[in-house]
């Protein structure tokens, strides 16, 4: 494979992986192969969507995160918690309580990510209305979608809105605020609680940026456990009065499906979630099939961020809790109990000035070669090989489909002999021995699988 351009947070633990191939068959970009009995990832095709993580039966797919202890490398430790973090807990643990617990388990400050959502949506709306030529403009909020477009829909990279995510706005805000208060810059550590792998990958190698706005990323499930434990052995009374007061009712739902769309308020926009739905839709957008579209909110996960692979609890329930909280906030705003004008608005100009990301470049995984004549040769080869394959997508060759095997063969990453049907044919013609075909299968699926079946079962 070509050199790798992405940092990936999704990794495979070889000790746990037993080569069941579920991940391979479920990967929307055909980025996984089985080799030597283990799943392996073609890094340039992986978009960190997490579909593999969801189906792995052995916990072999994992999400690499920063060590929690690394927060103590900083004197001032800020945690950025997205609204869905609070939505994981049942209503009896309200947002203010969770907020207090966060500042009790090691952090000196806590702030909700969606605090900046309103400013973010204003910058985005301005961008949309002044960039008619690239319609429909596509949200860059979900990093798996940005990567999907880079690798699979390179013609649409110019449609991506080159604006940072709310997490970056909020991080910039809190950093500046602390510096203004006299905290030395090097003492400030900002940590983001992520619901998914894509957000980690985006922070470690931000697209169109050279430096990330946060200092570390913590997985939502890990943080859920820490907070939950604290709540359970509640040795002390937490004050549950209004501590969490960073977000407005319309912003708290930003990361749910339709949240950004509503806030941006374009004439014609769609909110589409779940990676396969998004791929289908982008296929149409690429052909100019859908007319007069202004804006697309696209999310890799069903229900948006509540469906992230690292959230704890059912995505519909989390969604409902966040919606309920939005409703309560709206009531309070109406009664004047809380103001819609939050502290962050004082820094609006600064945040707007620092809101842009650099150019997002296409990174097509579709192309067979940089050089068109080489690509043409490979394509010719694929078209020669494909009809020879049984077209049943059995995956025994270690590739997700017959077509994927044909591509792998043309790119010298596999052999026609990897196909069991071809092996049977050759054995039948006495051109291959049983031992040879067993060796091929062992190469793909590992030694043990065949030994077990023959000797022990």
């Amino acid at each position: 494979m070509k050199e790798s351009f992405f940092y990936h947070a999704l990794k495979i633990d070889e000790k746990r992986c037993f080569g069941c191939s579920r991940c391979m068959r479920n990967c929307p970009t055909e980025a996984i192969r089985v080799r030597g009995g283990k799943a392996t990832i073609y890094e340039n095709r992986c978009i960190d969507c997490g579909e593999c993580y969801k189906v792995c039966p052995s916990g072999a797919v994992y999400v690499a995160q920063d060590d929690f202890a690394s927060i103590y490398n900083f004197k001032t430790r800020v945690v950025l918690a997205p609204s869905i973090f609070f939505g994981q807990f049942s209503e009896k643990y309200n947002a203010s309580l969770i907020h207090s617990v966060l500042t009790d388990i090691g952090f000196t400050h806590a702030i909700e990510v969606e605090a900046s959502a309103y400013i973010h949506s204003q910058v985005t709306s301005d961008y949309i209305s002044s960039h008619e030529e690239h319609k429909p403009l596509i949200s860059t909020f979900c990093p798996a979608i940005v990567r999907l477009i880079q690798v699979k829909f390179p013609a649409l990279v110019d449609n991506l809105v080159p604006i940072k995510a709310p997490v970056d706005f909020t991080a910039n805000y809190i950093r500046k605020k602390l510096i203004d208060e006299g905290v030395p810059e090097e003492d400030i550590g900002i940590f983001y609680i992520t619901p998914c792998a894509a957000k980690i990958a985006a922070t470690k190698s931000p697209v169109g940026e050279d430096k990330s706005s946060v200092d570390g990323v913590l997985n939502m499930d890990t943080m859920y456990n820490m907070v939950y434990k604290q709540l359970k052995n509640q040795a002390k009374e937490y004050k549950t009065k209004l501590v969490a007061n960073d977000v407005t009712s319309d912003c708290v739902v930003f990361s749910l499906t339709n949240g950004e769309k509503r806030l941006n308020n374009c004439k014609k926009s769609f909110a589409i979630d779940e990676i396969h739905n998004v791929i289908d839709f982008l296929d149409k957008v690429e052909n100019d099939d859908i007319e007069n579209l202004d804006f697309l909110e696209l999310r890799a996960c069903d229900q948006g961020c509540p469906g992230g692979i690292l959230t704890c609890g059912n995505r519909f329930v989390i969604n409902d809790r966040v919606m309920y909280r939005a409703k309560k906030l709206a009531d309070r705003e109406r009664s004047g109990e809380t103001s819609r004008k939050k502290e962050i608005t004082k820094m609006e100009d600064y945040l707007v000035k620092n809101s842009r990301v650099g150019k997002i470049l296409p990174r097509s995984m579709m192309k067979l070669d940089e050089d068109i004549s080489v690509a043409f040769q490979k394509l010719t080869k694929i078209r020669e090989i494909e009809p020879k394959l049984p077209q049943i997508d059995c995956s025994v060759c270690g590739a997700p489909s017959c077509h994927a095997l044909a591509e792998d063969i043309a790119c010298d990453n596999a052999s026609l002999l990897d196909c069991v049907f071809i092996q049977r044919n050759l054995e039948n013609r006495n051109s291959m021995t049983a031992q040879e075909s067993v060796d091929i299968i062992k190469n793909i699926w590992g030694e043990e699988k065949l030994d077990d079946y023959i000797l022990n079962k």
Binding site: P154, A155, N287, D289, M366, K367, F376, T380
Partner: protein
Amino acid sequence: MHFEYNIIESDFANAGKASSEIKKTMKQLNIDAQKIKRMVVAVYEAEVNAIAHAFGGTIFVDIDSEKICVLIKDSGPGIENIELAMQKGYSTASAKVREMGFGAGMGLPNIKNNVDDLDIKSEVGVGTEIKMVVNFI
């Protein structure tokens, strides 16, 4: 490299299958995104014409490392006056076709704008052949 696709009469729902396939192939060849888009839009328009104005037909695609050539052939009613048909806004689309959102008379002009070479042969009562080329270099 050669492919063929059938176009079925009145099957608007499945228009675009051929252009999707063409798109994928061009992506694999690392063709410039704008060129892909141009060809896809042109093929789609011509395909819809064969569905709407003729009785379906066949799409022939030929690709080499220099260009893509798409020929769309139908044995429909033919076009009486090609020059007139090429004009923006000219359309003989039926009410039924208009109801489906087609029939603005923009298809052929749009094809012309998008391809590098366009050749239309048509004979009344026999059929129409539209040949479109996009050069890679």
